[in-house]
């Protein structure tokens, strides 16, 4: 089990039109990822969800807060031990084109980390070779065809499967999938999502799914928790279906309203909501972070920033002073599939 408590990260500003104010990527984020479970983080680009994934993989360090692996606080461990522990968390990158070294063949991509693993397990070279074949089979790639290939001869979907196989080579407990399907053809996306699901079921791998595609999050972890991040703050979280069916925070409602509707097969939600303006991370308001874009903001929203509170539903929490329930997601026609 992995638990994040009060994770906070601020990046120094990089200039540009908006000056160089520091940008808060994470603001006291709490989350729990049970073993074999799935947790999804959704939000716009720039909401901090990628930073969270990178912290979990050890590519970035939080400014403050705790990261507990089975109750052990990683932030208190010495660097070497911490990195070794974090090896059990592997990233599935957004872009399968840049996640694979163009000069390494599929065989090398898999056997390099497998040799490390073999040393830890006291296995020999045969094990490495067999395991590479086994991993490719597991992710749905034909080993005989793929092993001698360079990545540039593989399609986007095949590359993403290879990235997942590489991550599995070190027997991780957690896969962090950061927009893992965003750059893949829609027709091949579901195959990758189904693979993540299968790995959860068969290997007991937990999945931290970072996405802006709520339906994809629902497919991978319908039984898990959904966290809605806005400018680094968790503004709503709860069981996936509860948040989708009855979103409380207007930002969640905006996100869900933006999902395209398959007209003819679905009816759009009755009360869709759109934000008033684009995301502007430049200024730091004293009140609710979303107030400047919120269609239903009231005067006190700009004065005090709400913390997470219960909606009444068990485990479903939100951070809005004036929540209003709306039905925003599309509903499937009864007759159509």
């Amino acid at each position: 089990m992995i638990e994040g408590r009060g994770l906070t990260k601020t990046f120094a500003g990089r200039g540009g039109l908006l000056g160089s104010a520091p940008v808060a990527a994470l603001r006291k984020v709490d989350f729990v990822l049970p073993s074999g479970g799935a947790v999804s983080f959704i939000g716009e680009s720039g909401c901090g969800k990628t930073t969270l994934g990178r912290i979990l993989c050890g590519m970035e360090e939080a400014d403050s807060g705790q990261l507990l692996f089975d109750g052990v606080d990683l932030t208190k461990l010495p660097r070497g031990k911490r990195l070794a522990r974090l090896r059990r968390v592997q990233m599935v990158h957004q872009d399968p084109y840049s996640a694979l070294n163009p000069t390494r063949t599929v065989r090398q991509v898999l056997e390099d980390p497998l040799r490390l693993r073999a040393r830890q397990l006291g296995r020999g070279n045969d094990w490495v070779k067999n395991r590479a074949v086994e991993l490719l089979g597991l992710v749905g790639l034909d080993p005989r065809y793929c092993l001698p290939q360079y990545p540039h001869t593989l399609s986007g979907g095949m590359r993403q499967r290879l990235v997942i196989a590489r991550a599995l080579s070190v027997d991780p407990e957690v896969l962090v999938a950061d927009e893992a399907i965003a750059m893949i053809d829609v027709s091949l996306r579901l195959g990758i999502l189904a693979l993540l699901r299968q790995l959860r079921a068969e290997l007991g791998v937990s999945v931290l799914f970072i996405t802006h595609d709520v339906a994809a999050a629902r497919y991978v972890g319908a039984d898990g928790q959904l966290y809605v991040l806005y400018r680094g703050q968790v503004v709503e979280h709860g069981p996936v279906d509860a948040v989708i069916a009855s979103p409380a925070h207007p930002y969640t409602q905006c996100l869900l309203s933006a999902i395209p509707v398959l007209r003819g097969l679905e009816e759009p939600g009755a009360e869709q909501l759109m934000p008033l303006a684009g995301l502007d991370v430049g200024h730091e308001p004293p009140g609710c972070l979303f107030a400047d874009r919120c269609p239903q903001a009231e005067e006190d929203c700009t004065l005090s920033r709400p913390d997470l509170r219960d909606t009444g539903d068990r485990g479903h929490r939100h951070a809005c002073l004036h929540p209003r329930l709306r039905q925003v997601v599309a509903q499937a026609h009864a007759g159509a599939t």
Binding site: S45, V186, S187, D213, R263, A330
Partner: protein, 368 residues
């Protein structure tokens, strides 16, 4: 939402000659388009015999995987197919251009932009990183012989406002100072600044998050209506156009395998590929288990079957005939008592598909 389908001209099919509805002739008309690419194994067709109508006032969605030929088709509309490709046959009529494929040199350069506005897949890559947006717009105008800076700037400001962009800030910005969604909107400003009647958008929302995507699509819908354009949206994501397009065309292996009014295609897709695409979309409501991945991988230029149906290798319905004979695009006939309650006497709104099994050509239609 039935309004648009009634106005639609009947699209051409392999069996019927193209019909153009009088008065709606102002849009774009693609006939028998073939685009080939030179490869070590000879010339291969990336687009193979495509007929497509883009009437004014209609948004058409062109859906296909990578390698389906959809982007090549769009480039061909600008007569800008990169080497080693070339337009081998066919014609492209635009409102003010008789045949885009015949234009060369200066005439071609002037036609691009003024007859047809094109929004590139990654707008950030089509903008010069070292020049302000406004200066680039003026360059574009100058290249088309519009010397009047004032008119051009006024038009740019108006368009920016229409896109929900702050005109002063946007025009004086460099591209890296804009967010992805803003750049895409700037791309639309560029495409429309010369007042074309035909607008082509290639993957307009790739790499955008849901809210930016929705904003861009809403803007496309609005400017389309305001200006009474003929709009073509090219995408691999059928969900994007399902919400927006009046008319859908599905491409696979260089062919249009199904086309028709969006609702008809979504509700009663005839081609197994279209059905597979729709089934592969995870939904936000309803039974998530109903989503099914599409097996196999899309063909590339070298692996498109030369004979028979291009989809047969991934098709669950394939029969012997599929490997021998290429199916023609023929009207899809509704079953009696279908969702629309229409009788089986014709294809609603020009719904056509190319499949031996689900849309057999000639006779025997009632068994589809």
């Amino acid at each position: 939402m039935r309004t648009s389908s009634a106005d639609l001209p009947s699209p051409s099919t392999a069996t019927a000659p193209p019909v153009t509805v009088p008065g709606e002739a102002g849009g774009a008309e693609i006939r028998g388009l073939v685009v080939v690419f030179g490869t070590p194994d000879g010339e291969m067709a990336a687009v193979n015999g495509v007929d497509l109508d883009l009437p004014l006032g209609t948004i058409t969605g062109l859906v296909g995987e990578s390698g389906s030929g959809k982007s090549t088709l769009a480039l061909a509309m600008m007569n800008a197919v990169p080497k080693p490709g070339r337009i081998a046959a066919g014609s492209i009529r635009l409102p003010s251009v008789k045949d885009m494929t015949q234009l060369r040199g200066k005439a071609l350069r002037l036609a691009r932009g003024s007859a047809l506005g094109y929004v590139f897949q990654a707008s950030q890559n089509s903008l010069n990183p070292l020049k302000r947006i406004g200066a680039q717009l003026l360059d574009l105008g100058r290249a088309h012989g519009m010397e009047d800076k004032g008119v051009l700037l006024a038009r740019a400001r108006e368009l920016c406002e229409r896109m929900g962009l702050d005109p002063v800030r946007t025009l004086s910005a460099y591209q890296h100072e804009l967010s992805g969604g803003m750049r895409q909107r700037v791309g639309i400003v560029f495409a429309l600044i010369l007042n074309p009647r035909v607008l082509v958008l290639d993957e307009p929302t790739t790499a955008l998050d849901m809210i930016s995507q929705r904003t861009v699509l809403d803007i496309v819908r609005d400017v389309h209506r305001d200006r009474h354009l003929a709009t073509l949206i090219i995408t691999h994501d059928i969900a994007i156009v399902a919400d927006l397009a009046d008319y859908l065309a599905v491409m696979y292996g260089g062919r249009v395998v199904e086309k028709g009014p969006t609702r008809h295609v979504l509700q009663s897709a005839a081609h197994p590929y279209t059905r597979g695409l729709i089934a592969a979309i995870p939904r936000i409501s309803g039974d998530i288990e109903k989503a099914r991945p599409l097996v196999g991988r899309p063909p590339d230029l070298l692996s498109i079957p030369r004979q028979g149906c291009v989809f047969r290798e991934r098709c669950p319905l394939t029969i012997g005939r599929c490997s021998l004979e290429e199916p023609a695009l023929v009207p899809v006939v509704k079953e009696p008592g279908g969702i629309f309650g229409e009788s089986g006497d014709g294809a609603p709104g020009g719904h056509a598909a190319a499949c031996h099994v689900t849309a057999p050509a000639g006779g025997d239609r009632s068994r589809s």
